[in-house]
């Protein structure tokens, strides 16, 4: 018998006087001890399922149809008290942001103690014993110390282990993990995912694993349910869904992700983006139809029925049989830069040192965010910088564009050292380099229109420019980055995340710089939008010819875009070389660990993330 069963589950809200559906006729059945991956992009409604299980829907949202039963009891109609009795005991949750999911004013010990007391462990000493045993189970060392620590004294990975320990403390029958690794570094992600799988197998718990990463879901889950715009589009055994998807969306999602091994293939980029809650109202037929490469007239007329396409495998598509025809061809390696005329930017032994603390009662300490880094960027060359948080890659970007001043070393552009802070140095930088920021929300002034943002450089120039001139230039730039001209008069808040990032890029391109410094510019975006932007960058290079320093934590994206790569670890470049060579034959233990942390392209292959690099280097 199934543990968690959804039958025609529909969640609605009323927005601007219209009834919209965040989840639409969701059907699934999760058997005890099984792990189901819930895959979709942001806004697909995947987090809504977790919220529906706990009945903590956002204000205005309600279950408007169907049922959701846990062990035969309907979670929707159940009274609040009985549902609360289930929570934390029979149904537990693992959150997305471990650092903010623990109460900052209580110690880890107090929070675990409260939870165990609720589970009915009456004796204080016994609760302490249990807590220490829980830490052992999730491989957290120094348990006794940990009890007296506050959440902010722990790393994100450790907090997540604590939360996993709490979730499994009661041997619950169902655990809902909502993007439990998104906020963590790659190497820690791998360990956390494996820990959840391990705990799940040990206690025979059923898990709903919510993620945007199809490959990850295929690797660790038993079955997969793909959501698109609130609608389940495909479900089936994990490996089958990944190996031979029968819904065009699943297929496109798979092909939008760059691969880390094998021949480099083109990215399939879907046009536009997933419709929002209000946008869905305009669609009569399949919600994927406007973006679907296989669309035909019938798709637009009515919602497609769910058809069985294999053993336990079903897709809501009229053209399920033709899905395999969507393909992305293999393309060669990334072209290297041209050496003629010498490098555009040369960074030589640059160090950035920050003072830490430093009052008169505490001794002055310091910390090198970047330590003796050297690199050169050739004409038309895309150089990748990979590393985890704290590796110094963002500081390196700021040093190059001039937002930070190096403590030692030199940065040469246009034949002169630009680190002296003089007016000429500033001009040399302006002529050579521009930066694209990570978070378009913060990088675009919400009070400026798009046209004003992308042509901001013209405002700074010595020559006064008229608004008409700027509008004309803005239209030109928008066309180049693939946005409709009417975007020019919009405000950033009226654009989607992907559109904002395009505007962000357009601003940097306005003065046709020779080098772009791009800091994690695709990390906040959905896979399909990420693919669009990566292809855009490649096209723009062909058209204008510029170089780029591309900073990312995502190795496969770097492989798709960059001919050369630098691996940074604790402020230093530990390995550098042509991307294909470095990834195929990594020399430094840290590079090996980074590569091992990525789930293999083939979900059937074994995935063995390596332990922390300290142990490897010791």
């Amino acid at each position: 018998m199934s543990l968690l069963v959804a039958r025609g589950l529909t969640v609605s809200a009323t927005i601007a006087g219209k009834t919209v559906q965040a989840l639409r006729e969701l059907d699934f059945a999760l058997a005890p001890g099984r792990m189901m991956g819930l895959v979709g992009e942001s806004g697909a409604g995947k987090s809504m399922i977790g919220r529906t299980i706990a009945q903590v829907l956002p204000p205005g949202f309600r279950v408007s149809g169907g049922s959701l039963t846990f062990d035969g009891r309907d979670l929707v109609t159940m009274d609040a008290r009985s549902r609360r009795d289930l929570l934390g005991k029979d149904i537990a949750f693992i959150p997305q942001e471990p650092l903010s999911a623990l109460n900052p004013v209580f110690t880890i010990g107090q929070q675990i103690d409260e939870h165990l007391a609720r589970l009915g462990v009456c004796d204080r000493g016994e609760r302490r014993e249990r807590a220490l045993a829980m830490f052992d189970a999730v491989h957290l060392p120094h348990g006794a110390d940990l009890l007296t620590k506050y959440p902010h004294q722990l790393s994100g990975g450790m907090c997540q282990r604590v939360l996993i320990a709490m979730a499994f403390a009661s041997r619950p029958r169902l655990v809902v993990a909502d993007e439990p690794t998104t906020a963590l570094d790659v190497t820690i992600q791998a360990r956390i995912v494996q820990l959840i799988r391990e705990m799940q197998e040990k206690s025979g718990t059923a898990v709903v694993f919510i993620t945007h990463d199809l490959k990850l879901a295929a690797q660790i889950c038993d079955e997969i349910l793909v959501l698109y715009a609130g609608r389940p589009v495909e479900r089936g055994p994990a490996r089958t869904v990944f190996a031979s998807p029968t819904h065009p969306y699943t297929r496109c999602l798979q092909l939008a992700n760059p691969n880390l091994s094998g021949p480099r293939r083109a990215l399939h980029s879907l046009p536009e983006q997933m419709p929002g809650l209000l946008g869905q109202l305009a669609l009569d037929g399949c919600r994927f139809a406007p973006r679907c490469p296989l669309v035909e007239d019938a798709c637009r007329r009515a919602e497609p029925p769910t058809v069985v396409t294999g053993a336990d495998h079903a897709a809501a598509c009229l053209r399920a049989a033709s899905t395999a025809s969507i393909a992305a061809p293999a393309i060669g390696t990334v072209p290297a830069g041209t050496g003629s005329g010498g490098p555009l930017v040369t960074v030589d032994a640059v160090t950035k040192r920050y003072a830490l603390g430093g009052g008169f009662l505490s001794s002055r300490r310091h910390f090198d965010a970047v330590k003796g880094v050297s690199l050169a960027i050739a004409r038309n060359e895309f150089v990748g910088v990979v590393g985890e948080s704290g590796s110094g890659k963002s500081t390196l970007a700021k040093l190059i564009v001039g937002l930070e001043t190096p403590t030692a070393g030199s940065i040469v552009m246009g034949g002169r050292d630009v680190t002296d802070g003089s007016r000429l140095a500033r001009q040399a930088r302006l002529d050579t380099v521009q930066m694209v920021f990570q978070d378009p929300q913060s990088a675009l002034n919400p009070r400026r229109r798009v046209a004003s943002i992308v042509t901001q450089a013209m405002e700074a120039g010595a020559r006064a420019t008229t608004w008409d001139e700027r509008l004309a230039r803005a239209r030109e730039l928008l066309r180049e980055i693939g946005l409709p001209p009417e975007t020019a008069t919009r405000y950033p808040s009226q654009l989607s995340g992907g559109q904002r990032q395009r505007v962000n890029i357009a601003r940097a391109l306005c003065t046709t710089p020779k080098v772009l410094v791009a800091d994690e510019i695709v990390s906040g975006l959905d896979v399909s939008v990420q693919a669009q932007l990566l292809n855009l960058l490649l096209r723009l290079r062909d058209e204008f010819g510029f170089s780029m320093l591309f900073i990312s934590h995502d190795l496969s994206v770097v492989r798709y875009l960059c001919s050369r790569v630098l691996v940074m670890w604790r402020g230093e470049v530990v390995e550098t070389g042509p991307t294909e060579t470095v990834f195929a034959n990594p020399q430094h233990p840290y590079t090996r660990m980074l590569l091992a942390a990525v789930p293999p392209d083939d979900p059937a292959a074994a995935w063995n993330p390596l332990d922390e690099v300290e142990r490897l280097t010791a």
Binding site: D85, L87, A92, N103, P104, V105, E114, R118, Y150, Q153
Partner: protein, 339 residues
């Protein structure tokens, strides 16, 4: 942990002392702008010009401003604030007499403000999203618009004149003579076992303390309400709810302890201001505290008193800030680790 707090208080005091120094310089300079002659003010009206000139030299008024300051601050550090030109008494005695009265009044005011503020804040949070919310919101804006001296006058009209419930002049009824020991009247009355004096003194304090407390409560209410709203948007509240923790425990245990932090730092600033609020309230109630002394001094251009009382106010505010910072540190593990 305790070491961290001691260190932090040490650091606060190290910051506070130079501030107090700058304050003393400012006080000195501002009051030197005054077009009155401190020497003439300090003498009997029938003094001759020669006598005044001699006094000027004695007081060091013929020297440069930095020298005058050095002389003055040197004496202040020995507890000598000079002689009041109006009362013809050493200023330090006047301050020592009035300060305890004001401290008692403010202490009571703080109690009223805290109780009303926290209770009101919880209630405002409780009615969020209901039809009562806009009414309560408007009410809080209205309360915010009534400064303490208007409350003081209003209470006189209501409880003193119309209902004749409570006295509104002075510190003690004329039938009693005040016991003398520490200067803190409530404390002294209890110390000599005179419950009747204690109660009479307390009755005289009810209206002024209420006026102070009620004037400072609304901002506390609002900050508590908005911090609670902020905290309820945090992940850890959501996550605790998902662990099956009842709403009541969520509020009293998980949310309140976080929301109290911003409320506390506001209260620190507010209670410093409350000492300023006593000024007019004391005048209105003819309450023999430091505020009354200050206003008298200002009216009579009695420089030594203004300087002494000004410095005392600054010192009190710095003490309150230090205490609040220490409390904040005790309640906030994040800062405690940094200290």
């Amino acid at each position: 942990m305790h070491l961290g707090i001691v260190k932090m208080i040490g650091r606060r005091i190290l910051i506070a002392l130079p501030i107090l120094g700058v304050v003393s310089v400012l006080l000195f300079v501002v009051l030197r702008l005054l077009p009155v002659d401190p020497a003439a003010m300090s003498m009997a009206p029938n003094a001759t010009l020669e006598e005044i000139a001699a006094k000027r030299i004695e007081m060091g008024l013929d020297r440069s401003l930095p020298e005058q300051y050095a002389i003055w601050i040197g004496r202040v550090l020995q507890g000598d604030f000079g002689t009041s030109s109006h009362f013809r008494r050493p200023v330090i005695g006047l301050v020592v007499e009035t300060l305890p009265q004001t401290i008692e009044l403010v202490a009571l005011g703080i109690v009223v403000a805290t109780v009303l503020g926290l209770a009101g804040g919880l209630w405002m949070f409780h009615v969020r999203g209901t039809y009562q919310e806009p009414v309560v919101d408007f009410g809080s804006t209205l309360l915010m618009s009534i400064p303490e001296f208007l409350w003081a006058l209003f209470f006189i009209l209501l409880f003193g004149v119309a209902l004749e419930l409570l006295p509104f002049v002075g510190r003690l009824s004329a039938t009693y003579s005040r016991p003398n020991a520490t200067g803190f009247l409530l404390f002294d009355a209890l110390a000599v076992g005179r419950i009747d004096i204690f109660l009479d003194a307390l009755r005289h304090m009810v209206l002024p303390a209420l006026a102070l407390g009620i004037a400072f409560a609304p901002s506390i209410m609002r900050v508590l309400r908005s911090s609670l709203l902020d905290v309820y948007h945090e992940d850890y509240i959501h996550q605790a709810r998902l662990r099956g923790i009842p709403e009541r425990t969520l509020l009293t245990r998980h949310a309140l302890k976080n929301a109290i932090l911003p409320t506390l730092s506001l209260m620190g600033v507010q209670f410093g201001f409350m000492f300023g609020g006593t000024l007019l309230v004391e005048v209105i109630y003819s309450y023999p505290g430091m505020g009354n002394l200050m206003v008298d001094a200002v009216r009579n251009a009695d420089l030594p008193i203004i300087q002494a009382v000004g410095l005392t106010y600054a010192a009190i505010v710095l003490v309150i800030n230090t205490v609040v910072d220490a409390l904040y540190l005790v309640l906030n593990p994040k800062l405690r680790a940094a200290a």
